[in-house]
């Protein structure tokens, strides 16, 4: 079954990244944050993939270089890198939250031979100065990458990669756009979103064509319509667990889902790098680690439009941006009549018993 293939990729994206590198005969270009522009790595001849948390019992190596008060996704990514069992050509990070911002320095100290570049994107948005600086930051990143890899950015490949990556984001965005009408189960949309981060773009699109044929009958789940907000979803299994409790995600505000999928690269300006930089600055659905005003109200408005009855705010322990945002998001949702539940997750991949009870209580309490 093609759907099984999608689930397999989503259940172990790191394994997919490894086999992709072997298949394509290219080293991996790992983007550490959700808004690292992988098309640039593609254009440098790397297999651009997003580094995602993987199921693991603990972080024995990461714990040796990073305190435990960093969030589980950062610790998990660091653990994967330190295990040094991936064919990595380059690691790319972006400035963002304090934990992610410190990772390149930690890697440089712990693995001096691992090349790491940082995209120093402005945190401020909505200003021309920030837009200009984002372009310069991307140019710096390209220069640094060229110096490390010893080969230039291939503008032809960049053009193709921009088109292909955008097609992937559009496809993922469309899948999440189908959630309110319950055409597809949310777990399948998240599986696709995770697979999109690691598969070769065209292979992903081909797989999607098979898993989500245009003429397929609706296969969505029944359940109470909810909004899911947060950084990364822990796993597709976590979503399945949520669905099994009678929740149907009809609106998404996660980094795994719509936040990254909303990015669009303008095709008209001749400077493609400028267009990529601006696409990062003008993403319509930002993560709270960027300095965007009015985000909670925007999320609440979208949730209301999708007809949600309740919201689940997925908060990783020690994730500062979402911890800061949670109270204002709860308040904004309350203003539009949507009750919410903040679930704090750490390194678990499936939903804990305590969280199951909390979700059940929320759903049962709804009128």
């Amino acid at each position: 079954m093609v759907a099984d293939r999608l689930d397999a990729v989503a259940d172990d994206p790191i394994a997919e990244a490894r086999s992709r590198a072997a298949l394509e005969g290219r080293a991996l270009g790992l983007g550490l944050s959700s808004y690292f522009p992988l098309e640039v790595f593609d254009a440098f001849g790397l297999a651009g993939v997003r580094m995602l948390p993987r199921p693991m019992d603990g972080y024995p190596q990461a714990d040796g270089v990073l305190q435990a008060f960093a969030c589980a996704p950062v610790r998990s990514m660091l653990e994967t890198l330190l295990q040094a069992d991936l064919p990595i050509g380059l690691v790319g990070s972006t400035s963002g939250c304090d934990a992610v911002t410190t990772v390149p320095g930690i890697l440089n100290a712990a693995m001096p031979s691992l090349p790491v570049v940082s995209l120093r994107l402005p945190i401020a948005v909505e200003s021309e100065a920030a837009d200009r600086h984002a372009t310069l930051a991307l140019l710096d990143l390209c220069r640094e990458t060229e110096a490390i890899l010893g080969r230039p950015l291939d503008l032809g490949v960049l053009e193709t990669a921009v088109v292909d990556r955008e097609a992937v984001r559009v496809r993922v965005g469309n899948l999440f756009g189908r959630l309110p009408t319950r055409d597809i189960p949310a777990s399948r949309a998240y599986a696709a979103a995770i697979a999109a981060q690691v598969m070769a773009p065209r292979a992903f699109l081909a797989l999607c064509d098979e898993v989500f044929p245009a003429d397929a009958a609706p296969t969505g789940t029944d359940g109470i319509p909810i909004l899911l907000s947060g950084e990364l979803v822990p796993s597709v299994q976590w979503i399945r667990d949520l669905e099994s409790l009678g929740a149907a995600i009809v609106s998404d505000d996660t980094n795994t889902g719509t936040r990254d999928a909303g990015r669009r690269v303008r095709r008209d300006p001749p400077n493609r790098l400028k267009a990529i930089a601006e696409s990062l600055m003008h993403r319509p659905v930002h993560s709270p680690e960027r300095f965007v005003s009015g985000r909670p109200r925007g999320v609440a408005a979208r949730a209301r439009e999708a007809g949600v009855k309740a919201a689940i705010l997925l908060h990783y322990k020690f994730c500062d941006p979402s911890a800061f945002e949670a109270p204002s998001l709860v308040a904004a949702l309350k203003e539009v009549g949507i009750p919410s539940l903040v679930l704090e997750v750490d390194r678990q991949i499936t939903m804990t018993g305590g969280d199951r009870t909390r979700v059940q209580t929320l759903l049962e309490a709804l009128p």
Partner: protein, 399 residues
């Protein structure tokens, strides 16, 4: 042990500053709440009175008020894992309780992310609470020195901020007026640097335990004449002590340097522990952050852009290794303490690698201690003692 005369002067200075803020606000001077790494020179040149919530949180913590205040913020749904300065300060806003009598509300807030990402969220919450404009200075994080593009980007924002503070109730910020404030800042920073440098003497006439307390004016009053006068007097007194061979720690047997913010809930206990073991805390990366060079009044906007982008916390681990190693050498220390501060990810994450690298570069012994700058629930003096006493003994110091 001979106490610093400046301790009393500090109390008076802080009290006068608080009174001046209240009085100034009453006679119509606008008040700007600013982060410790904000270019305060601009708001001063615009005629605003600056107020520092971080300093305020530290005072609350040193006075034993932090847990109650933090709990007020947590009751509003904010996680206990967030920065304790944020939780203490917002708790004070919610409850109205403060050791300063009462807080003068802001007319504008100026925040820069050169010290951490937390402040941009903290002050957004604060700006919404007081319904006042929030001005944000975005300073690109860099492992090396700021690039020309970084400086240009920050400079452009500074010019915009100057225009905004003038529009929001201040005076027009002319280059001439700004230059004068920058010059006063530079004078104060140089005096503060002189004070800290004297800890390199043997025995150290001044330690970081003193510096943590006497840094208050350089954070909250730089750019003013009062600040210069304060540090001139402190410099003269420390110089006297140095000449007279007065030691801050009796019978100094070991010298160590410190990384990160002080542990305010047990500050006095820790100071005593160091004294008991005859260990001088001769330098630290925190208070020396206000000894920046190259603040030039000739082109104040460009100079401020360079200086405020080049702050230690706006750099990665490699820079920290360099700073700490230089400090170990400069102060002739044989050990260093890394405070793994649960509240400050930007300052703390990656310290394990920093420890190894500094030890390897200098031969000094390092220790990581876990605590929190302000939340007593995350601080155990006993735990600190268990880590520090064997460390002191390794350095040849005993109680």
């Amino acid at each position: 042990m001979i106490k610093l005369r400046a301790n009393k002067r500090l109390q008076t200075t802080i009290r006068n500053q608080v009174l001046w803020t209240r009085f100034g606000s009453k006679i119509g001077r606008p008040v700007a709440w600013v982060t410790s790494g904000s270019p305060v020179e601009i708001v001063l040149a615009a005629g605003f009175i600056p107020f520092y919530p971080e300093n305020h949180a530290a005072i609350c913590a040193a006075r034993g008020m932090s847990q109650d205040l933090a709990e007020q913020t947590e009751a509003e749904g904010y996680s206990r894992d967030l920065c304790s300065y944020f939780r203490v300060d917002v708790g004070s806003q919610i409850s109205g309780r403060t050791p300063l009598g009462h807080l003068v509300p802001p007319d504008v807030i100026l925040v820069s992310n050169n010290i951490c990402g937390t402040v941009q969220n903290w002050f957004r919450v604060t700006a919404e609470r007081f319904n006042v404009p929030l001005l944000f200075l975005d300073t690109p994080f860099n492992d090396a020195a700021p690039t020309e593009a970084d400086v240009a980007y920050v400079r452009e924002q500074l010019v915009h901020i100057a225009a905004e503070v003038a529009r929001l109730g201040g005076r027009r910020v002319t280059e001439d007026r700004l230059s004068k404030v920058v010059l006063r800042s530079r004078d104060a920073l140089e005096l503060w640097a002189e004070v800290l440098a004297m800890a390199a003497e043997r025995p150290a006439p001044f330690t970081s335990f003193d510096a943590f307390v006497h840094m208050a004016p350089i954070v909250s009053m730089r750019g003013t004449r009062r600040c210069i006068s304060y540090y001139r007097a402190l410099r003269d007194e420390v110089r006297e002590r140095m000449k007279a061979g007065i030691s801050s720690v009796p019978d100094e047997r070991a010298r160590v340097v410190w990384d990160n913010i002080a542990i305010w809930p047990v500050h006095k206990q820790l100071k005593k522990l160091f004294e008991q073991y005859h260990v001088s805390l001769v330098g630290d990366t925190y208070t020396s952050a206000w000894t920046v060079e190259h603040l030039e009044p000739e082109d104040p906007f460009t100079s401020l852009a360079k200086v405020y982008t080049d702050i230690i916390l706006n750099h990665g681990a490699a820079h920290r290794v360099k700073v700490l190693s230089n400090m170990v050498r400069k102060f002739d220390a044989t050990g260093f303490v890394l405070h793994s501060n649960r509240s400050c990810k930007r300052y703390s994450l990656g310290q394990f690698g920093v420890k190894t690298a500094v030890s390897s570069a200098t031969g000094a012994t390092g220790v990581v201690v876990e605590a929190d700058m302000a939340d007593p629930r995350s601080v155990s003096f006993e735990h600190l003692q268990q880590r520090l006493v064997p460390f002191f003994e390794t350095l040849g110091a005993s109680g």
